[in-house]
Amino acid sequence: MTTVLLRRGAELLFALLALSLLVFLLTALAPGDPAEELLRRGGVQPSPESVAALRAELGLDRPLFARYLGWLGDVLRGDLGRSYADRSPVAAEIARRLPATLHLAGVAALVAAGLAVLVSLATALRPRSRLARAVALAAVAVSGVPPYVVGILLISLVAVALRALPTGGADGPGAVVLPAVTLGLAGAATLLRLLRADLGHAVRTPFVRLATAKGLRRRRVVVVHALRVAAPNAVTAAGVMLAELVTGAVVVETLFSWPGVGQLAVTAIRQRDLPVVQAYVLVTATAAVLALALAELCVAACDPRARRR
C-alpha cells in the first residue's frame, strides 16, 4: 500500500507540475506583450517607456524560468494574479464564482449517479432484454452528442415550447434543473458506458449465479452480490465522471448563462484577460486531476487487486 501511495503520489505531482508549466506557458504563447496589453486597456497607445517600466514592475524582463518559479510560488500562496480588465485579484473572483459551478456540478452528479444506478440495476440481470438494449443504445447515443446540443433541444422543448422552466440564469430554485439535467445526462452516459460491461461480468461470476440458483430474489442478487463485485470500478467511473462534470460545466454554463467559473472564463477569453483564463484552467484542471487521483486511491484502499498493478 505504501509503495502504491508513493508511486501514485509521484505521478500526481508530476501531472500537476506539467499542468502548472502548461498554464504558465499560455502567457508565452499568447501573441502580444502583457504589459502593452495592460496599458492599452486605458484606450491610448502606450509609450515605449511606460511599457518598459511596467515590464520591469511586473518582472516580465526576467528570464522565463525565473518567472515560472515566481509565478508558481505566488500560486501556491493562493495569489492568482490580477485581472487585466479591472485589476481586481483573480483569486477572489474565482472564489466568488466557484459555489455556482459546484452547485451545478453537484446536482448534475446526483442526476447522473441516480440515473446510472437505477438503469444498471434494472437491466443488469437481463442484459439482452428489450429495455436493456434500448437503454444501452440511448447511452451510446448521448455519449456521441455534445452536452450543449442536448441542452438546446431540452431548452426548446421544455422552456420555450412548454414554458415550464426558465431558459437560463440562476434565479429561483427551478433554474438549476435544465442545466443540471443537461450536464447530468452526459455524466450518466459516461458512467453507464464504463459500468455496463462490469455489471454484466459480475452477474456471470459463479457465486452470483449460485445466489440466483439458490433462489434469492433478483433484487437481492444484484444489490448485494453483483454490485459489490462491480463497485471498485464504479468508484473509478465516478472519478472519471466528476472530472468530466467539472470540466464540461463551462459549455453548459455558457448555454444557460449560469454564473459559474466557466462563464467567467469564456468572458475572459473574449476580453483576452489572460490571468483569469490561467486561473480558470489551473483551478478546473487541478480539480479534475485530483478527482481522478482520489478515485484511484479509494480503489487501491478497498480492492487489494488494484494495488498490484
Binding site: E11, L12, F14, A15, A18, L19, L22, V23, L26, L29, A30, P31, P127, L137, V140, A141, S143, G144, V145, P146, Y148, V149, V150, I152, L153, I155, S156, V160, A161, T167, R196, A197, G200, H201, A243, V246, T247, G248, V250, V251, T254, L255, A265, V266, I269, R270, L274, V277, Q278, Y280, V281, T284, A285, A288, V289, L292, A293
Partner: protein, 259 residues
C-alpha cells in the same frame, strides 16, 4: 447491423454536407438583411437566419467544416499515435517508458479545458484548432497501438516468420501490420467521435474558427440569443450535429468488442 446503419447515415450526412453548398443558389456566408428571419418556404426550405442567410445551405456548409476539421485532427492524432505506439511496442525500453510517462500525464489532464485555454489564447483559425486538440489527442491511439503491436510481435506466426528469416519491413507489412490495423481503426473512429464533440464545443464557446467560417457549434452559439423567437436557427444545426454524433457513436460501439 446497427453499425452498418450508422455508416450509411454518416455517409448520407457527409454527402449532403458536400453537395448542398455546391448546388444551392445561396451563399452560406453572404448576409442579405432584406430576407432576414424568413420562415421555411419553397425558396428557402428551412427559412433564413437573422442575417438573411439560407439556413439549409449554411447548416450544410457548417457541417462540411465540422467534419473536415474533425477528420483532419483525427488523421493527425492517429498518425502520431500509431507511429509512436508502434515504435514503443516494437522497441520497448526507453521508448516504451517515455510513452507511458507522457500518457500518464496526458490522461490525467482534462483535454477540453486545456484546448479551450490554448484556442482562446491563440488567434482563431484552423491551425489553432489543430494546436489545441492534437497535443493531448494522440495518446489514446498510441496506447492501443503499443499494446496491439506488442501482442502481434510475440504471436506465433510472427515468431515463425522471423525464424525463417523474414525482414523487418516484410514482418511489419504482412505479419504485424494487419493485426494492428483493426485496433487502430477502432481507436480512430472513437477519436473521431470525441474530436467532433471537441471541435464543435470549441466553436460553441467562440474560440474555434474566425467568422464567417463556422461549424455546427458556432451556428448553435450564434442562434442561442434568438432561441425563444426563432428556435429553428439553433435546433436545425443542433439536430444535424446530434444525428451525426449518434451515428458515429453507434459505429464506435459496434466496433468495440462486446461484454
Amino acid at each position: 447491423m446497427r453499425g452498418r446503419a450508422g455508416v450509411v447515415l454518416l455517409v448520407a450526412v457527409g454527402l449532403a454536407c458536400l453537395v448542398v453548398p455546391l448546388v444551392s443558389p445561396y451563399d452560406p456566408h453572404l448576409p442579405d438583411l432584406r430576407r432576414a428571419l424568413l420562415p421555411p418556404d419553397p425558396e428557402h426550405w428551412l427559412g433564413t437566419d437573422q442575417l438573411g442567410r439560407d439556413l439549409l445551405t449554411r447548416t450544410a456548409a457548417a457541417g462540411r467544416t465540422s467534419l473536415l476539421v474533425a477528420l483532419a485532427v483525427t488523421t493527425l492524432t492517429t498518425a502520431v499515435g500509431a507511429v509512436s505506439g508502434a515504435v514503443a511496442g516494437l522497441a520497448g525500453g526507453v521508448a516504451e517508458r517515455l510513452l507511458r510517462l507522457s500518457a500518464t500525464v496526458a490522461l490525467a489532464l482534462p483535454g477540453l479545458t486545456l484546448a479551450l485555454a490554448l484556442a482562446g489564447v491563440l488567434s482563431p483559425g484552423y491551425g489553432t484548432v489543430l494546436t489545441a486538440l492534437v497535443p493531448l489527442g494522440w495518446v489514446n491511439c498510441a496506447l492501443v497501438t503499443r499494446t496491439a503491436t506488442r501482442q502481434a510481435a510475440s504471436a506465433d506466426h510472427v515468431l515463425a516468420a522471423r525464424a525463417i528469416g523474414a525482414s523487418m519491413p516484410h514482418l511489419l507489412r504482412r505479419a504485424i501490420g494487419p493485426h494492428v490495423a483493426g485496433a487502430v481503426l477502432t481507436v480512430a473512429t472513437a477519436d473521431l467521435s470525441r474530436t467532433l464533440i471537441a471541435v464543435t464545443s470549441l466553436s460553441f464557446l467562440g474560440v474555434g474558427l474566425p467568422p464567417p467560417q463556422t461549424d455546427w457549434g458556432g451556428m448553435v452559439s450564434e442562434a442561442t440569443a434568438l432561441l425563444v423567437t426563432a428556435p429553428r436557427l439553433a435546433v436545425v444545426p443542433a439536430l444535424a450535429l446530434a444525428v451525426t454524433g449518434v451515428a458515429l457513436a453507434v459505429v464506435v460501439d459496434a466496433r468495440r468488442p462486446g461484454p
